[in-house]
């Protein structure tokens, strides 16, 4: 028996969906992955290709690394705190004529810690709390400062290599580098129901991933879903990224014209 040739023809249909990071659900404290519908397809659809395009790398705010300076009294003059490439020097009086950047004025214990925090954050008053010319830290902020503690956190989530050391005579850091950071490590998979058209792809860098057709014809209306997953349930909000999802499909019952016999 021969093949019964079909004369029905149709043009390929393309669905194009731009997904901004703000369209994605926060995963903080809920789950490491959330599925969202992206494109609706009618019964009879057969996906024949497409792609997931990472135009701008997706970034989800991860866990910020932390290091805490704990003190019991004020430091002595000339003792230092090192944060990354910056060395801060404690002084009983700030240098003048010329001023020397990165000096921290020693006051009470609480005031000294607050002055260090102000220098790191670029807050407070230059020339009063810390020396004029001091530049704020680009990758670290002080979350809190008290009489006995200065808590430094990374500006963004992820593993940190920023050093935190000191020669403070009555103080020390709990970690020599910012500790406990975790990146979002975002991945996105493309699915229809349980059927996978693209396995979890690393979307933390720009790139393009082809969808792999499965040959399944939809037996009911359905949606093309994206499964956004991150490294851990402690990961927070998506904060950057633009994705394009292109789905190329036909509908098996659709005939726009005839060709052949």
């Amino acid at each position: 028996m021969a093949i019964t040739k079909k004369s029905g023809r149709q043009e390929e249909i393309v669905a194009y969906q731009i997904i901004d990071y703000s369209d994605l659900t926060s995963l903080y404290g809920t789950a490491v992955g959330v599925t969202q519908g992206a494109i609706s397809l009618p019964v009879g659809s057969l996906v024949i290709g497409g792609s997931l395009i990472v135009n701008t790398a997706l970034e989800t705010e991860g866990v910020k690394a932390v290091s805490t300076l704990t003190t019991s009294t004020v430091p002595s003059a000339a003792q230092v705190v090192v944060v990354g490439a910056q060395t801060y020097t404690y002084r009983a009086a700030l240098s003048t004529g010329p001023t020397v950047p990165n000096e921290i004025l020693i006051g009470t214990e609480a005031a000294t810690n607050a002055n260090l925090a102000a220098a790191i954050n670029g807050s407070g008053v230059a020339g009063v709390n810390y020396s004029t010319g001091t530049v704020s830290q680009p990758t670290v902020v002080v979350a809190t400062s008290t009489q006995h503690t200065v808590v430094l956190t990374a500006y963004r989530g992820g593993v940190s290599t920023v050093a935190t050391t000191t020669t403070h005579g009555a103080g020390s850091f709990d970690h020599a580098t910012l500790y406990g950071g975790l990146s979002g490590a975002d991945t996105i998979a493309v699915k229809i129901g349980a059927e996978v058209y693209k396995t979890a792809a690393d979307v933390t860098a720009a790139g393009i991933f082809s969808l792999v057709p499965t040959g399944t014809v939809l037996t009911a209306d359905n949606t093309v879903d994206i499964l956004h997953a991150v490294a851990a349930s402690t990961i927070g909000l998506p904060i950057a990224g633009i994705l394009h999802l292109v789905v190329r499909y036909i509908v098996t019952t659709r005939e726009e014209w005839s060709q052949g016999v």
């Binding site: 043009e11 390929e12 249909i13 393309v14 669905a15 194009y16 969906q17 731009i18 997904i19 703000s22 369209d23 994605l24 659900t25 969202q36 519908g37 992206a38 494109i39 609706s40 397809l41 009618p42 290709g49 497409g50 792609s51 395009i53 990472v54 135009n55 393009i208 209306d221 949606t223 994206i226 394009h244 292109v246 190329r248």
Partner: protein, 131 residues
């Protein structure tokens, strides 16, 4: 916030151009040759470059545009019969542009032929709704 699903659907647009290589033909020297006009907001999602008849050795082609001459493919040997798939990048054209073929490596002296097929969509184009 959830994804706002677009119900806009469009059919794929395909542009095809053929050309000849070699002295006295379409492409006789090295350089950039415009091949396909594409409109604002176009996004190339596929296509291919086929060498149907080989030209002289060391002639290579790249497929791109005026911003990136290798956006969709590079170093395609025009001295070998082959189909090379274009690699989509997701780039959306902010203004009307052209898909260009850049010939380099050597001057195509011998007769040869090629075919360029560009598959693209236009962001915002809706021929019908679905979903």
């Amino acid at each position: 916030m959830a994804i706002t699903k677009s119900v806009e659907r469009q059919e794929l647009i395909v542009a095809r151009v053929t050309g000849t290589l070699g002295t006295g033909y379409n492409v006789a020297v090295q350089g950039v040759f415009t091949a396909v006009e594409i409109p604002q907001n176009a996004v190339v999602i596929g296509g291919h470059f086929v060498v149907d008849d080989v030209t002289s050795g060391s002639v290579v082609a790249a497929i791109g545009d005026s911003v990136s001459g290798t956006r969709y493919g590079s170093n395609i040997n025009c001295n070998a019969l082959a189909l090379t798939a274009l690699v989509p990048t997701g780039y959306k054209y902010p203004a009307q542009s052209t898909i260009d073929i850049t010939i380099s490596g050597a001057t195509p002296a011998a007769y040869g032929t090629f075919e360029l097929v560009v598959e693209y969509i236009i962001d915002g184009r809706a021929e019908f709704s679905q979903g």
